[in-house]
Amino acid sequence: MKTRLNRHPVRKILAVSISAIGLMAAAPNLMAQTDGPSEEVLNLIRPDSEISFGVLDVSKSSYKFGDYTGMHKKGAHLNGDVRVNMRGEGNANYLEIDATNLGLDSRNFKIKGGEQGNYGLSLEYDEISKLWYDSYQTPYVNPGSTRLDLPAGWVASATTPGMTQLTGNMKSFNIETQRKSVALGLTKLLGGDWDVAVDFKHETKQGNRLLGAVFGNSGGNPRAAVLPEPVDYVTRQFNLSARYTTDKLQFQAGYSASLFDNKKPFLQFQNAYTTIAGWTAGTGFPAYGQIGLPPDNQAHQLSASLGYQLSKATRLAGTFSYSRLTQNDSFLPYTSNPVLVITNPMPRSSLEGKVNNTHLDMKLTSKLSSDWNLVAAYRYDDKANKTPQSLYDYIGGDSTNQNVVANSDRWRTNLPGSSTKQLIEVEAIYRLSAHTKLKFGGEYEWAKKTFEAVSNEKEHTLKAEVHHHFSDTTAGGLSYAWSDRQTSDYLFAAPFAASFAPAYVAAQSWDNNPFQKKFFMAPRTRDKIHAFVNFEPMEKVDVHLGFDFKDDNYTKSYYGLQDARGYGANVDVNIAATDALTAHVYAAADRYTNFERSNRLAAGCGGGKANPTAPGCDWTANLSDHNYLTGLGLRYRPGEKYEIGADYTYSKSIGKTDMWAAAGTTGLLPLPENTNTLNRIDLFGRYALQKNLSLNVKYIYERFQATDWALEGLTPASMANVIGTNQVAPNYSVHALGVSLSYQFK
């Protein structure tokens, strides 16, 4: 992948900042010597620094193994880490440098300096590589560009099996993005209990990710290809805060800005399909379609926080903030295809999107007595979406002329939703005895929303918790929380009626099953249990046992998500056999299940819009994820001469999909399991060659095996209406061996 980051400004920023911090922090008196403790004591109290450089060899290229770590390329890589921690003698000047993985795409470099108790400067450079897929393939000849072309001699067809040039033209293209950021920070104590902090971060994100690029009308005759979406983002964040801190009063006021700039606002792609029934002539190959990519946007926020000690036992804290989000990118046209007829122009050239967020929270904490603590809190979050509404006569997938009839489903009004959410929370903590503590609490949360099926929600939560020390070596706890969310009447067609043309609404009545409730605003009860025990079966052995349970029950949803349930259990054992030898073992398992019910709304099973609950059309899906994790670690450090360690990690996940459908449903077949299995061994050692020189060795073996029914067995032409990608689930075994030398100094 080509990186398009303009390197020169980054280099200048780095150079200038490092120089500035170095000059200011490593001021002439940084290392000024004064009479003081002996060398022996100085070794114990003076900060350590270390520089390490070496080689890391990776046995095999793998995106999954190198995801985020930068170890995805086969071969030897020079690598290094730097940790410098210098403090002035007799003064408060300091200089800290922390650099890791300097030879890899996951490198990080941070330098801080200043005078403690006066000012501080910092600079950080960071890279994060997200490696999505190294098995993706596409027939388009210029992946990564903003106008994707098909190869010369392309044979278009109404469906993929007829594209005779498809399979032979599939070429690999790695899908990855890389973030590179530079952050600057300044803190300054002003005196009089005031201090200020300023920071700025500039980040680029470049590369590609996948999107579905479609021609045709959703719900009727779409044709698609999965294509690389070019990513070329610049984000800038700025924060300024002034703080006043005394024993009794703490105050903070701040301003924050975050600016998002997408340098590639659209993707054009050639249509691989011939014009099919329902499309306007001339929209098939070699025409181009155009999809919009994320628009530029901004957010600015003013905030003020206050903490005040009302009395020795009672404190009040609160925050108020007001932020404005804006988005006003120029609209792309309804279609980029010049053969299509536009009768009704767009109502506006840009959105003029504006959202005002207001936040207020207050918290009162009081130690009522030596046994009782009380916390009461209130939170208010208002999202006022001021984006104007307009009526758009859209074109489906660059494939048809504009439909101007009154009852067309193409007339749509945007729905800028607003919401107000409030929460009151009370928690009482009672120390029943020196060994037992009880907690009781309750929450009441209510919300108002616009352009949704429900306009009001309210949720009550009750909580109870007990912690008890059974003995000097055994303690445990148990907590339970129950919640009940109720809503106003579920007006299933409200958003539909608000967005579509009246004539179309009158003819259709609704566009989603009236008996289905969308889970994020459906009535729900929730139960949560957490239990744990810590004990020491023998000296130098700690054991932790934990259990969690969570159940979301959507009791009033006839269709939709019915139940979401999770269990988790874990055990940890830590052993300190001797001062030199320690070990830890852990094992955990969890299981999450989603159960949903739906209806096919098909005439063949006796259903449809006239009978949306026809039993013959019912089906259910029970989706469960089972996860198992085991780890074992050993550390042996008999003295300063050497230390060694080892870790083993085993992780397995199994995704099951169990389907059921009413009798008479044809073609219902079971689905295979999706699995991910990880085995990883980490070995590491450090040997002191000399007083200040160490040899470090690390070894990693990782084996990962995955199965994914969404990818297996697919060819580029398996789906008649979507061009495939030849992707496969990751399977690899990788060895990585690193050898480095470390030099320690003070």
Binding site: I45, Y68, R87, Y94, N108, Q116, G117, L211, G212, G219, G220, P222, R243, Q252, S258, Q290, G292, P294, P295, S305, G307, R315, S321, N357, D361, V375, R379, N385, Y394, G396, G397, D398, P416, K439, F451, D472, S499, N512, N513, Q516, K518, F519, Y559, G560, Y586, N594, N599, L601, K609, N627, S651, L669, P670, N676, A710, G713, S718, A720, N721, T725
Partner: protein, 332 residues
């Protein structure tokens, strides 16, 4: 120097060996009537102002024996000199007794048996109450991001500052990008499992830390998030999904967690459930949104375009919102 060591040999063990009762914490404010009982009045401070009364015992000459006697003097406390809390030129830097209390009984103990505990102990099994320990830290660190510490989940759960921070260590693991998560996993075992799932934020890889999203010292938002809301927190790194868009997808604008889990998932892009079933939890209509998708849609039986590869997102790709005038169905 030898003389100094003998002098320092008396004060001992502050900050490390033992625990104290909450009432003793209050004793820290008492006049130091016996404070002049250090063995050698000529003792010199090693690091902090007035630390001679402590480092006389807790010096480099003695290694811990594990016997719990006067000989277990734990010179590791000197490592505070390597930290910001050891910079005496900063007038804000505390002394030993600022954090541990005057601990007169501890300092004046005579004999070879285990001395009484210090007033305010931070050892792992201390009996000093969490709020008493926290008070030592909050006496300086009370503003800024810690303004919401009192009454926060950690404070109410008796997770004191020293449960996560190691003040006497040259390297405070919870402030290290590569080590912070392991500190958090000490209690948050579920998150350890989730971070090992195939789709996860790069926490174990050291590129994102827990504290990038959570303010462990108390926050104004839910789940100790650094921002007022979950979405505002997510937008810190994912601004392209912030909008506002012409065509909003309500669950995305409402709460990212409607579809995603933050710590780890078996499904790509941290989705709670695999597509198309996740989408079908809300969408049921004629044509494909209400169809039953089973093994008959997989090779070699078939290849349902709403089920394989990116499933629904093969066409409806802009699920976070679209700003294209022809994008109300999130295909543009």
């Amino acid at each position: 120097m030898q003389l100094a060591r003998h002098v320092l040999a008396f004060c001992a063990v502050i900050g490390t060996l033992a625990a104290a009762t909450p009432l003793l914490a209050a004793d820290a404010a008492k006049p130091a009537s016996k404070a002049n009982l250090a063995a050698d009045p000529n003792a010199k401070d090693l690091i902090l102002k007035g630390d001679a009364k402590c480092t006389g015992c807790h010096d480099e000459a003695d290694e811990p024996t594990g016997a719990g006697t006067m000989l277990e003097l734990n010179p590791g406390v000197l490592a505070i000199g390597k930290t910001r809390h050891g910079v005496t030129a900063d007038k804000r830097t505390p002394t030993c007794v600022d954090c541990h209390g005057e601990s007169l009984d501890h300092r004046t103990h005579k004999g070879s048996d285990k001395p009484p505990k210090v007033d305010r102990s931070f050892r792992p099994k201390t009996t000093t109450p969490a709020d008493v320990r926290d008070a030592a830290c909050m006496s300086c660190h009370k503003g800024g991001n810690r303004m919401n510490w009192p009454g926060s989940q950690h404070a109410n759960g008796d997770v004191s500052c020293n449960a996560c921070h190691k003040v006497h260590s040259k390297k405070d693991l919870v402030r290290d990008k590569y080590a912070q998560a392991e500190v958090c996993y000490t209690c948050h075992k579920d998150q350890r499992v989730e971070m090992r799932k195939p789709s996860h934020h790069p926490v174990n890889e050291g590129k994102v830390v827990c504290s990038a999203c959570h303010n462990l010292h108390g926050s104004t938002g839910p789940k100790l998030l650094i921002k007022n809301t979950l979405n505002e927190t997510c937008y810190s790194c994912h601004m392209e999904k912030r909008g506002p868009f012409l065509w909003e997808h309500p669950p995305a604008a409402d709460n990212c967690a409607n579809c995603h889990v933050p710590h780890g998932s078996n499904n790509t892009a941290l989705l709670k459930t695999r597509q198309p079933y996740l989408c079908e939890q809300c969408h049921d209509y004629t044509n494909h949104p209400g169809n039953v998708y089973s093994g008959s849609g997989l090779p070699p039986n078939g290849a349902a375009q709403q089920m394989v590869l990116r499933a629904c997102a093969n066409c409806h790709t802009q699920v976070h919102g679209s700003n294209h005038p022809s994008g109300p169905r999130f295909t543009r």
